[in-house]
């Protein structure tokens, strides 16, 4: 059987003004994999996630989702994105959870989860509500269905954000430092949700500073620095036996 990778990134380049934030990043994500992306601030981890989720326009390279081309660079070095309709379809296969949650404050928890289902996926409101109920149960927030984001703690907000992303049934779920804005107590409850998703073989890419999580939950770890992938491999190898000098230095600074 032909195993097309769920996500294929080749030579990804991104500049902000004169600053080269991504200098040619290439990697694959297979279906069902959980990949942790670690590295110092400014290494381009978040930018990479944002480029894949169409929040930034790339300056070079190519990205494809399950074989469908999202963007590529032609022979004339020109970056060409797929048609809007194609991009829209691809977008529905991707989900993202942000560091600052980005819940919609004027919607209740349930409405946050059902709104996109109803107006983007065109689901029947009752089905959407059912899905919301199930997902709230899954993340342990059934009792907060009618609460508003301002009434929730950070950890609860993030769990709602995860439920909101899951409601759209994405093929890949991206997490951009999901627990960086949370204190250690609240971090644990969010990591538990992500761990449960991993057990269900949800394809996920998690940019994180939580090394314990990366070591215990990820199938693969990618270490980035200065816009490039420096080293990648199984958590056991990366954390116990890093090959590259920069990886060693970074890990030493953490532990």
């Amino acid at each position: 059987m032909d195993n097309i990778p769920m996500l294929e990134v080749r030579g990804l380049c991104k500049n902000f003004e004169t600053n080269e934030v991504l200098s040619g990043v290439s990697f694959n994500i297979e279906k069902g994999e959980v990949v942790a992306v670690i590295g110092p601030s400014g290494s381009g981890k978040s930018t990479m996630l944002r480029c894949i989720n169409l929040l930034e326009r790339i300056d070079g390279g190519s990205i494809s989702i399950a074989g469908d081309m999202m963007v590529h660079t032609n022979n004339n070095k020109k970056v060409v994105y797929a048609q809007k309709s194609q991009l829209r379809k691809i977008r529905l296969r991707l989900g993202m959870v942000f560091q600052s949650f980005n819940l919609f404050p004027h919607f209740s928890v349930t409405q946050n989860i059902t709104e996109a289902q109803i107006h983007v996926a065109k689901k029947d409101p009752r089905n959407a509500a059912e899905t919301a109920n199930e997902l709230l149960k899954k993340v342990g927030l059934s009792d907060k269905a009618d609460a508003y984001p301002y009434q929730l703690s950070g950890g609860q907000c993030q769990r709602v954000a995860i439920a909101r992303a899951l409601a759209m049934n994405p093929d890949i779920l991206f997490f951009d430092e999901p627990t960086s804005a949370l204190d250690p107590e609240l971090t644990a409850e969010v990591l538990k949700v992500i761990q449960d998703l991993a057990a269900e073989h949800m394809t996920m890419v998690v940019v994180t500073h939580e090394m314990g999580f990366a070591r215990d939950v990820a199938d693969r770890v990618i270490f980035m620095d200065k816009g490039l992938i420096v080293e990648e491999g199984k958590p056991a190898n990366i954390f116990s036996n890093p090959q590259n000098g920069r990886t060693k230095a970074f890990l030493k600074s953490i532990f």
Binding site: F98, N102, H106, V120, A165
Partner: protein, 226 residues
């Protein structure tokens, strides 16, 4: 004695009726201005936020002139300008009331535009990004996610403008349109008393207390979240 009280009451009743008719004109100006300037203000706001340099500079100039010159002069300008611009001999008659509404609408659209812009720009980028990754179109994002949040934020500023508008209606007196203020001024001169002016003040206060109450109600309705 009773006859005196009866006279006073009759005079007061007459005064209230007179000022009431003037107030109706004030209210006409008030509602028409809001109906035109609030949507127009949104268009101006978009122009102000446009990335197109030409549109952006034209709109910025418009906002500068509208906010930077007195409304009372703008009213006179709109009324007299067409006559000055046409060749000798030709005369154009704009209805005074129409000229006033045009001037008011243009003027207030500039203020509303900046209020809208302030509200829209205060919404964090994260809201747009979350909506985008969920698959909402730009239009859906604007009307379902952004606008509801903006409305709540700009309510106090909007109430400022609306209350000011109630009082600004007095400026049409420059074109000789008879509204509340002019009616009061004329009556005060006629009876050599300041009572009509004081009563006019009460009328304005009454109208603005209704406006204030309405905004309070709306604010309360939107307080279901923070």
């Amino acid at each position: 004695m009773l006859e005196n009280i009866d006279n006073i009451l009759q005079d007061l009743f007459r005064l209230f009726r007179l000022l009431g008719i003037g107030a109706l004109t004030s209210l006409k100006i008030f509602f028409l201005t809001l109906i035109f300037s609030m949507p127009l203000g949104l268009a101006v706001a978009f122009g102000r936020m446009s990335k197109n340099k030409l549109i952006n500079s034209i709109v910025r100039f418009f906002i500068l002139v509208m906010r930077g010159t007195p409304l009372i002069l703008q009213i006179m300008f709109i009324y007299y300008a067409p006559s000055f611009m046409l060749p000798e001999g030709m005369k154009i008659n704009i209805d005074r009331f129409v000229a006033a509404i045009i001037a008011f609408s243009l003027n207030y659209s500039a203020y509303f535009a900046e209020i809208y812009r302030g509200g829209i720009e205060s919404i964090s980028q994260g809201q747009y990004e979350a909506a985008a990754v969920l698959g909402f179109t730009k239009v859906q994002t604007f009307f379902k996610i952004i606008v509801p949040q903006v409305i709540k934020r700009i309510l106090p500023s909007i109430s400022n403008e609306v209350i000011t508008l109630v009082k600004d209606t007095a400026l049409v007196t420059t074109l000789g349109i008879s509204e509340l203020y002019r009616a009061a001024k004329n009556e005060a001169a006629r009876v050599f008393s300041t009572v009509p002016l004081f009563v006019a003040g009460l009328f304005y206060l009454f109208m603005n207390s209704i406006v204030t109450k309405i905004f309070d109600k709306i604010e309360k309705k939107l307080s279901y979240y923070r």
